[in-house]
């Protein structure tokens, strides 16, 4: 992996101005991260003054090599990790009081569906979010069937999670956050470990969602197909943020950050 010096980063940051200047006006701003820095308890720094802003309805991809800080950044978006800096969702500052509201607004799907699906049955897993939001039973049932319907898994409600295939688990994992009626969908490597058919059907599924999305991935073909905006991270820095086509057209940028367009 190439060593990135801060001097290089400056160049990229000027070459690709932050999205906050294009498209993220105050009125449409859904998610904003400002000057966020974070180090893990062992002292290893994972994020360096990261600033991004996602507008309502925007679909953005988060790419970069392993260890770039993508997952760490995502864990900040609903307050599971808290670093130095500012994170706002829907105009709300992340703090103890706002946390329940923010967790309902940010639908976070983790990379490994075995971590996401912790209940014995599919139905209970999809109902977990709404149940903990304090909704009544009728509304929970309605939301669970709507969410399963949306991912095309209605028949799976009573199935046991551990008997499903990886592709099925991924769909259910997405349903578990759709049932919370989120404002923004945050997915961590949704196509990792899927066979081509499962990958294709997941991409088609994501294509249909009208939701705002922030998706971390190594799948640049999917990025090109689904996400007009791309944010490149490396070693805890946001090194580029701009229109996908423009960034993908810069082979030296991609190569410098360990990315490869097939």
């Amino acid at each position: 992996m190439p060593v990135i010096h801060q001097a290089d980063l400056q160049i990229h940051q000027t070459a690709f101005p932050k999205q906050s200047t294009d498209g993220c006006t105050d009125g449409s701003r859904l998610l904003s991260v400002e000057q966020l820095s974070f180090s893990y308890p062992d002292g290893h720094p994972a994020l360096h003054s990261v600033s991004i802003c996602i507008a309502k309805g925007e679909k953005a991809a988060l790419v970069g090599p392993n260890g770039a800080g993508k997952s760490t950044l995502m864990l900040h978006l609903n307050g599971i990790l808290t670093g130095k800096g500012q994170v706002q969702v829907g105009g709300l500052e992340i703090n103890k009081k706002n946390l329940p509201t923010i967790r309902a607004m940010v639908g976070m799907v983790f990379q490994n569906p075995d971590d996401q699906l912790f209940s014995p049955t599919v139905y209970e897993d999809v109902a977990f979010g709404p149940l903990h939001m304090g909704l009544d039973e009728k509304e929970i049932t309605r939301r669970v069937s709507a969410a399963l319907e949306q991912v095309g898994m209605s028949r799976f409600a009573s199935r046991l999670s551990h008997h499903l295939s990886t592709g099925e688990k991924k769909r259910i994992a997405i349903a578990t956050v759709l049932s919370m009626d989120p404002q923004i969908l945050v997915l961590d490597e949704p196509t990792a470990g899927l066979d081509p058919r499962a990958r294709r059907s997941l991409i088609n599924l994501l294509h249909e969602f009208p939701l705002t999305m922030l998706v971390s991935t190594h799948d640049l073909l999917m990025v090109r197909e689904l996400f007009p905006r791309m944010i490149i991270m490396d070693e805890g820095w946001v090194v580029a943020d701009g229109p996908t086509e423009a960034l993908l057209a810069d082979p030296s940028l991609l190569e410098q950050h360990g990315l490869e367009l097939p």
Binding site: L75, N78, I80, P100, R103, A104, V106, M108, F110, N112, D114, D115, Q116, F118, S119, P120, T121, E124, A127, F128, G129, L131, H132, M133, E137, I140, L160, S161, H162, H163, T176, V177, M180
Partner: protein
């Protein structure tokens, strides 16, 4: 590849399968209690209890031999009670010489031992029947709605969910070891016993670390969906008339077994 070996549920449509899981849990619990309360040597009472299990097996279309076969696995544990053979005063019927030790088997000891054996064997059969006719999640619901503490039910629930994941993980580790357990020409594979033991120890440690890290990720996933320390469940079950009827009939039966078991001379 997944390990499915732990699922003991036997899918079928029968009266027993359709019963409310709460009824089945209560009946199983009381059945075990009733076995414990039957006096030593109450053979008729034990026989009737077994009849109830056979009835349940037939009604749940599992067949007569099903619980019998599955229950054998628990028999070795009953051998822990073997000491009562020698420790209860009574008429000597046999002697065993083990080194300097002379053990005397008494008739009262033998009676107690066989009764314990029969009790545990019957109890295990009922538990086998319960698990075979009730989906595990339903069982958890039943426990929750019978006011078993939530933390305990959550622990059982997580254990059930992740036993499979853990077993898969262990299987992958074993396979990785096997794949690298090669031998050069003319050499035997593997090292000394202490070396092998160390490898096995490392694997166990690895498994623990992986599980520990996974538990962290699961907790994050729970937090992300609004978990705040109390696990909530919804109850899809409701007691029907037939549930109450079955519960009442079995309670009466168990009560009568107790009476019959206490009639002297039977």
């Amino acid at each position: 590849m997944h390990v499915h070996a732990f699922d003991r549920y036997h899918d079928a449509h029968s009266l027993v399968h359709r019963l409310d899981p709460r009824v089945k849990v209560i009946v199983t619990f009381l059945f075990i209690l009733s076995n414990l309360l039957l006096p030593d040597g109450a053979w008729l009472g034990f026989g009737l209890s077994w009849g109830l299990i056979l009835l349940g097996s037939v009604a749940s279309s599992l067949g007569v031999g099903y619980t019998l076969k599955r229950s054998l696995i628990a028999l070795p544990f009953a051998l822990a009670a073997a000491t009562v053979l020698f420790s209860i005063p009574g008429e000597a019927i046999a002697q065993v010489q083990i080194g300097p030790l002379l053990l005397v088997i008494t008739d009262a000891g033998l009676l107690r031992f066989t009764s314990i054996l029969v009790r545990s064997w019957l109890s295990v059969q009922m538990a086998v029947l319960l698990v075979a006719t009730t989906q595990f999640p339903d069982l958890l619901h039943a426990l929750r709605h019978l006011y078993v503490p939530g933390v305990l039910v959550s622990i059982i629930s997580f254990m059930y969910r992740y036993l499979f994941v853990l077993a898969d993980e262990a299987m992958r580790l074993l396979r990785a070891r096997e794949a690298r357990s090669a031998a050069a020409d003319g050499q035997t594979s593997g090292g000394s016993l202490p070396w092998r033991a160390r490898v096995a120890g490392n694997m166990a440690g690895q498994l623990f670390l992986r599980s520990y890290e996974r538990s962290d990720r699961i907790y994050n996933a729970m937090l992300a969906r609004g978990y705040n320390g109390t696990l909530l469940t919804i109850n899809p079950h409701s007691m029907q008339n037939q549930d109450w009827v079955v519960l009442l009939i079995i309670l009466l039966l168990l009560f009568s077994f107790q009476l019959i078991g206490r009639i002297p001379g039977l």
